[in-house]
Symmetry: C2
Subunit: 116 residues, 2 copies
């Protein structure tokens, strides 16, 4: 969101307007993750996860870094303060939500995964 215009802000909030994408954002708030980790944690179909990641990448909420065979996604570090504040609020309150909390727990357990 280089230029702060309602248009861009709307585009940012569109990224947060889907449950699956919110779950992904909740995970990426903890740091970069590779696609297979995200898939494992969400327990959703590969194509579904991939397309939501592509959606957010296209709208510049996420950036991707390829390492060997794996794609690591992370939140764009240069987001507008409004975006940052919105996501920070999600992070602060994630434990109140069963889905977010369960995802974060699976994230913990996946640290010692053999995936990537």
């Amino acid at each position: 969101m280089a230029n702060f215009r309602p248009m861009d802000l709307a585009s940012f909030y569109k990224c947060l307007s889907d449950p699956t994408r919110l779950r992904i954002v909740n995970l990426l708030l903890k740091g970069p993750l590779c696609v297979c980790q995200i898939q494992d944690i969400l327990q959703e179909a590969q194509v579904k996860t991939s397309k939501h990641l592509g959606y957010m990448k296209k709208r510049e909420l996420l950036v991707v870094k390829r390492k060997a065979n794996w794609n690591f996604y992370e939140l764009d570090p240069s987001l507008h303060p409004i975006a940052r504040a919105s996501m920070q609020a999600i992070e602060v309150h994630a434990s109140e939500d069963p889905t977010f909390a369960a995802d974060l727990e699976r994230l913990q357990n996946s640290q010692d995964s053999d995936c990537c």
Copy 2:
């Protein structure tokens, strides 16, 4: 957003995912407004404004109070902290955006309007 679930949160962010609705939220952050004031400030077609207000009311972001011939919309006072934080960030940064700023200026000038 009585229950905090990604579903509800997604629904909330859907309300923020349209430029016109963002402009409305920006105005309502300053307090309740009647539809005619909102229409005057946005300078958009009546039906467009009305439908966006209906959209947000249906998703419980806004509540409406009828007074005589006029409908006053306001932000639901019992919103989840995540929603509050997101909107507060919008309020803090509104002056950075030409559209938001111009809308707020027209809001000032409309205080002495003969509308409602």
